[in-house]
Amino acid sequence: MADKVAIIGVGYTPPRPLTPDVSYKEMTYEAAVKSYHDANLSSHKDIDGFVTCAEDLLEGTSIFDEYTPDQLGAVQKPMHTISGDALYGIATAYMKIKTGLMNIVVVEAHSKASNIKTLPHILNYAVDPILNRPLNLHPYYIAGLEMQSFLAQTKTTPEQCASVVVKNKKNALRNDLSCFGANLTLQEVLNSAQTFSPLTKLQTVDHVDGAIVFVLASEKTAKKLHKKPIWVKGCGWISDSPTLETRNWDECDYAKLSSKMAYKQAGIKNPRTQIDFFEVDDTFSYKELQHLEAIGVYKKGTAGEACLKGDLNPTGKTPVNVSGGSLGIGSLLEASGGFRILEIIKQLRGEAGVRQLKKNKTALALAWRGIPTASGACVILATK
């Protein structure tokens, strides 16, 4: 293995439900300029490689890769797109620097979800075109199926799932980047409109716009440029079957195996004691609990109780989604994982303000690629 790799810069635009004043290029440019400043880069010309995380149909442009370089200062530079969440981009930059070929690599992801007028239809376009698509259902039914299976198998209760929403929206009240902070009761969450039963409306994310840009660097460069480099200790990404009929609904293998891969690199044997806090995907309420159990922080069927008891609160034993998560901040499509990394960077640098956690040495971010996939990525970051 080659040198260590660190994140030395982050820049972003505050997520908002609508951003009619700027184009995606202008939004990303703002994030890039801030990121390069944060990384103390003397010029964008010092950057060796660039990665964008995007999907064509979320942009409304075929071969969206075409429109990625200008707003990053990447004209005539090694640049490409990864079809995946920002965490896949972080993993990509990590590997490139480890080869020794590149010293500084930039990762970008953004969301212009407000520009997509038919998002459920587009998601339905991701299910099997021969076997599933003709059913013509709103694809969130897949989350309903999975939640039902999760509740039955782990004996988790709907109240426990609702407590995730209460916690994350409350956490979001203390995050000035969040769009959906709220003081809610369990009953309000459970009594909100039935959507894809057992899911209710408040247990599902809303989408927002925003852009985020990271600068990663090799050990030597990182130490030279930044006082508080945040080290990438491990990266993992795994896909379970895309086929709904053969997927293992009882296990969340993408989370389990991708975290295992990252733990191995980071030398983590007991995540609950060795990792201080977690930022895991919570696109739907139950997903946070399912993910925590899959990554080995809680045993099967115990995460829900822990959440209800307050163990996952910022003041609890295992703080989860102090940022407010996607339920609190809003989902940023492929940039969602990026905003989890942002929270970790702020916490590890000691720059999280009112949300600052005392135990802030090592943290884990987990992203899920969303309906209808069983794919996800995991990144572990640390101050040392």
């Binding site: 075929s62 004209v75 005539q76 530079k77 090694p78």
Partner: protein, 388 residues
């Protein structure tokens, strides 16, 4: 900085390239992956990670096409990632495989590229209508042929090149493809037949355009330690390069692909190649249109600017010439299932350098080859130098 881990290609396989395949996209990906694994005497259990390459989602009619294709590509419960640079993807995918292995994270990789263009009805070109700028260009209803015709014309005007000069490339590649077992459009064709073919978008003639195709292609990569156990004839990835130019294509010099030169220089530097014209024995540049082979040879510094047509005219780029170019038959002859077509070029080099290209074998025991792909809005170059 210096590159650390060495990576080799140890297996390759592909499907037939056809206008319309009965196989689903997943089945095409499977057949190619299976063939590549078989060629290396490996099973999926021997594979640490899977890299997938495929061009616009719109062809197959799928959102998150990479996710849909992952089980067909052998990605189930594995680290699976899809990289994307439009038409340049086919040569980018092995580059992605290279950095994933060279990083030290993995020892083996399965790289699969697939395209099923026929799903897009009534014509696959429909998928290209949405590649143009959504605000300033799409209202003009541009089709894909426009931009290639515009670029080809600019290239011809800048250097005083004729359509006839360029037509030699079609003759060479389509004839070369006659001997390729996967080829869709191999044929004996004369210069006059190319020149007399229908004008689609002047100066582009029908026989100067690659077809739309269905097909898949796969290679197996391994680190030095593993490669030597798998085969006694590894083909090493010696240099990689990729480069993306501005999306403002109407503000750029269309006569010369500077981004291809940048990618080539990056690959040559890593491979330690100082005199590419002497050191590269076989070239597989991207040839979706006849002029692109020439454009790219110049960008790759294998011909002087405006002088590449002479290579085909003089027979230097024939399979038996001093610098064989597209001995596979290229996209013009073998076919163009976008990402799979780029990776087909890597397969060709693998077989040629191992002396396994059968009737297509380039004489003289070639040692070093170069494959290149290109895409987006005439803006990306991907280059891979391989050798034994």
């Amino acid at each position: 900085m210096g590159v650390k881990g060495k990576v080799a290609i140890v297996g390759a396989g592909l499907t037939k390239f056809v206008r319309r395949a009965q196989e689903t996209p997943k089945e095409l990906a499977f057949e190619a992956a299976r063939a590549a694994l078989d060629s290396a005497g490996m099973t999926l259990d021997d594979i640490d990670c899977v890299i997938h390459g495929t061009a616009p989602d719109a062809f197959d009619g799928l959102h998150m096409k990479g996710e849909y294709l992952l089980d067909g590509s052998g990605g189930w419960k594995k680290p699976y990632m899809r990289g994307y640079v439009g038409g340049g993807t086919g040569v980018f995918a092995p580059i992605q495989g290279w950095y994933q292995l060279s990083s030290g994270l993995f020892e083996t990789a399965l790289v699969v590229c697939e395209e099923k263009m026929s799903s897009c009805m009534p014509h696959p070109q429909g998928a290209f209508l949405t590649i143009f700028d959504n605000l300033t260009e799409r209202p003009l209803k541009p089709n894909l042929l426009w931009i290639f015709a515009l670029e080809m014309n600019r290239y011809m005007q800048t250097y005083g090149i004729s359509v006839k000069d360029i037509a030699h490339v079609s003759v060479k590649n389509k004839n070369n493809a006659l001997l390729h077992p996967a080829a869709q459009l191999g044929k004996e064709i004369t210069l006059d037949e190319v020149l007399n073919s229908e004008v689609l978008a002047w100066p582009v003639h029908r026989e100067m355009v690659s077809p739309t195709s269905d097909g898949a292609c796969a290679v197996i990569l391994a680190t030095e330690k593993r490669a030597k156990k798998i085969t006694n004839k590894p083909v090493w990835i010696k240099g990689v390069g990729w480069n993306l130019d501005s999306s403002y294509w109407t503000n750029r010099d269309l006569a010369y692909p500077q981004y291809v030169e940048n990618a080539a220089r990056m690959a040559y530097k890593m491979a330690g190649i100082k005199e590419p014209r002497k050191e590269i024995n076989i070239v597989e540049p991207y040839d979706p249109f006849a002029y692109k082979e020439l454009h790219h040879l110049e960008g790759l510094l294998l011909a002087d600017r405006g002088k590449a047509p002479q290579l085909a005219i003089d027979g230097i780029s024939l399979r038996t010439g001093n610098m064989p170019v597209c001995p596979s038959g290229g996209l013009l002859g073998v076919g163009n299932p976008i990402a799979a077509a780029g990776l087909m070029k890597i397969c060709e080099l693998f077989w040629q350098l191992r002396g396994e290209a059968g009737p297509r074998q380039v004489p003289g025991k070639p040692k070093t080859g170069l494959a290149q792909a290109w895409g987006d809005l005439m803006q990306v170059g991907t280059v891979c130098v391989v050798g034994i």
